[in-house]
Symmetry: C2
Subunit: 426 residues, 2 copies
């Protein structure tokens, strides 16, 4: 009897989709040896089948209509690599309704429609695998779901957007403004033509919702926690960070507190000696602290055609094994139950140690310290630089709202006030 | 109908065993929520049941005879945490013969008897899970087995012995000799009373055999590749490394070459700017380079009661799920097939860039360079320090045997010749 293998249909032949085609061709021997049966890509759908992507497509059944692909007889698994929350949602939903498990790299889709899609999967005996949706090639979701499954997670923090990390690394190394470094990132392919969702933190927030589910069993939407981007950062902020022994990184972080899980996406100052501060360029890294496991860190390429394809096909292999064994839902897709009381901590309670930088003429130090003291913020260090016309204060743990009011009270004396949280040990 | 759960017997109540008892008690709610059924530790066997370990044992069926435990009716899974290759081998073999899957942290056992035990597991429809055997709490075996399953691994390197990493970090920071730093490691619990297998590289070699199987499908014994330890390193070696921009780490490494997989355990000089060079103290880290995934790095606690217990219980959860689903062997335990030609590259062909340090009176530079040139070794840099009475040369890629002959040719002029490989990018 011929070995038919498990048959796969791919929707979306962009950068990652093309990487998946390449990987399946290059490693078919290895994948068959590891699975014990072949994994066959047979169908591909994309609205554009004419652009030359450097891969031969004549061996595949091609279609411009994803519905045709999802309905095709004999397909076992569907890969959704369109991105976005429109057509992609239809692809995933219709595949699940047909009882076909889905692999996706689509963090926006999971962040906005994850709850209903996971329910749909469960009701139809199918699964959604999504390792590639967070931190690209790095198997950090597997680590949380299985490797650390016995542990209670206390906190996590991650650099999960390579575009921002590249821009910040460039700003620091070259001392150039944000706009110039963004332009270079675009030229080098590290940033898209429209980089909005990367640089304003939205992409990191999407990924954090997924991490919150896996690590804390908290089901949150991307609007449920503070999210700030990097576009307002100046070279002076990166210089000040260096003076103080820190490095600025856009961090997605979450921490269990007695008042609930505190989650946020924002640029923070990390101690330069920390491992995360050493993650440069377009790399991603996630650090997790558990009650028994202590701190573990996972680092690698967070994006790119080939690295992301590695994660997508690893998921395909897991789903193919499940299909062969006739099982589904071996491991719940997200922390199935809310394990700690409290859910998300309200945004209004945001607090931390902060670095405050204000610009203006004359002596800024005295009014800055006075304004901070008036709002109950204890200053732990102060720098004033006449040449740069700025003053910088660091504070003890303070409510962010109090700092914002203190700065508002300074009125016209200052311009471009900058509040950057100082991230301590995880 | 009452939910009986999956029942576990534990053999070996040492440091890790006690951690497993503590974790299962502390996280029983979380584990049951994640599994959907309880995981119950019911039986414990150890030759010593009288030492106070700070955990209450009255709720368990205790025995000093592991055979009694393995034969006990109703046990589903067995945890072997005795260590060594004697009784531990009997425990694992008898459990597998009874069709019971086993979790172990025993790298020596897997390195020496892995092939027969994995065969025994297969023949009896049982499994061996061993995440804790390499790099403690870090789920790096899961990363290789599943997260990177679609990729072809080109190379890996790891700091997999926390004792050695602690001693080297201390030697570097304090400039103190090996013996004093070993003593401190023993006082702080980072080294055992008899540290031989840690400091001579044996423990790292055991772990490398496991990584070789998972990453390359190469089945090797610990004697099949070069293995050197750290006891011969002097503070001067660590100083020279710093002068040259490196840091010395005991590395287990493997790399696919056209002549086969090159594997070794030895202290090497790593560029100080690399992530692995930044792994200090008793931490472990493993870096893996794949054809598509690029370089990924996994870091965390490599030993210790609580971190290792996290890995052991995560394995128990995986095996408990498999038992509930009636499946075994979902993922082959090691790279089931030899995927690349060549097996291990012969030890005699060891080569690389090296740092050569020799001690003695008078001018050492001229005879050293002459001796190296005579054996075809190109010198890329040279340092001579009269105060330390040593000369240091770095070489281009050279056969180690040629360097050893060059040094032997210098005869009595020099003492304590030191050959340390310079590790380039992975």
């Amino acid at each position: 009897m011929p070995e038919a293998g498990v048959r796969v249909g791919l929707v979306g032949l962009g950068t990652i989709g093309t990487g998946v085609v390449r990987l399946l061709e290059a490693h078919s021997d290895l994948i068959e040896a590891r699975l014990g049966f072949p994994l066959r890509l047979t169908h591909i759908a994309d609205v554009d089948l004419h652009t030359d992507r450097g891969v031969a497509l004549d061996r595949y059944r091609l279609s411009t209509d994803f519905k045709e692909l999802v309905d095709a007889a004999g397909l076992d698994l569907i890969v959704e690599l369109i991105g976005g929350t429109g057509v992609a949602a239809q692809v995933v939903a219709s595949a699940l309704q047909a009882g076909k498990s889905v692999v996706t790299a689509n963090k926006a889709l999971l962040a906005h429609k994850g709850a209903e899609l996971f329910a749909l999967a469960r009701d139809n005996g199918a699964e959604i695998a999504f390792e590639a949706s967070v931190a690209g090639t790095i198997p950090v979701l597997r680590a949380l779901r299985e490797g650390l499954a016995a542990d209670r997670i206390h906190a996590l923090q991650g650099i999960v957007n390579g575009t921002c990390n590249f821009i910040l690394s460039e700003m620091e190394e070259r001392g150039e403004p944000y706009a110039a470094c963004l332009k270079r990132a675009q030229e080098l392919g590290y940033a898209e033509a429209d980089p909005t969702f990367d640089v304003n933190g939205t992409d990191s927030a999407h990924k954090l919702t997924i991490l919150l589910g896996l690590a804390f069993g908290v089901h949150a939407g991307p609007g449920d926690f503070p999210c700030r981007g990097i576009a307002e950062l100046k070279p002076a902020d990166l210089e000040v960070a260096e003076q103080l022994g820190y490095r600025i990184k856009l961090l997605a972080s979450a921490r269990q507190t007695p008042q609930g899980v505190e989650a946020r996406v924002e640029p923070v100052m990390l101690p330069r000696t920390s491992l995360l501060a050493g993650i440069g360029g377009a790399l991603n890294a996630v650090e997790v602290r558990g009650a028994f496991s202590g701190s573990t860190l996972y680092c690698g390429a967070g994006a790119g055609s080939r690295p992301t394809a590695s994660a997508v096909v690893a998921d395909l292999m897991e789903l193919a094994r499940a299909r062969r064994l006739g099982i589904a839902g071996r491991v719940p897709p997200l922390g199935a139950v809310e394990l700690r009381a409290g859910g998300l901590r309200p945004v209004a309670e945001e607090e931390g140690e902060y670095c405050v930088r204000v610009q203006g003429g004359g002596d800024l130090a005295a009014p800055l310290v006075a304004a901070l003291a008036q709002r109950g913020a204890h200053v732990t260090s102060l720098l004033q630089d006449a040449e740069r016309a700025h003053a910088v204060a660091t504070t003890r743990r303070t409510r962010r709202a109090d700092l914002e009011q203190a700065l508002a009270g300074l009125g016209r004396r200052i311009s471009a006030p900058q509040l950057i949280r100082i991230q301590g040990d995880l």
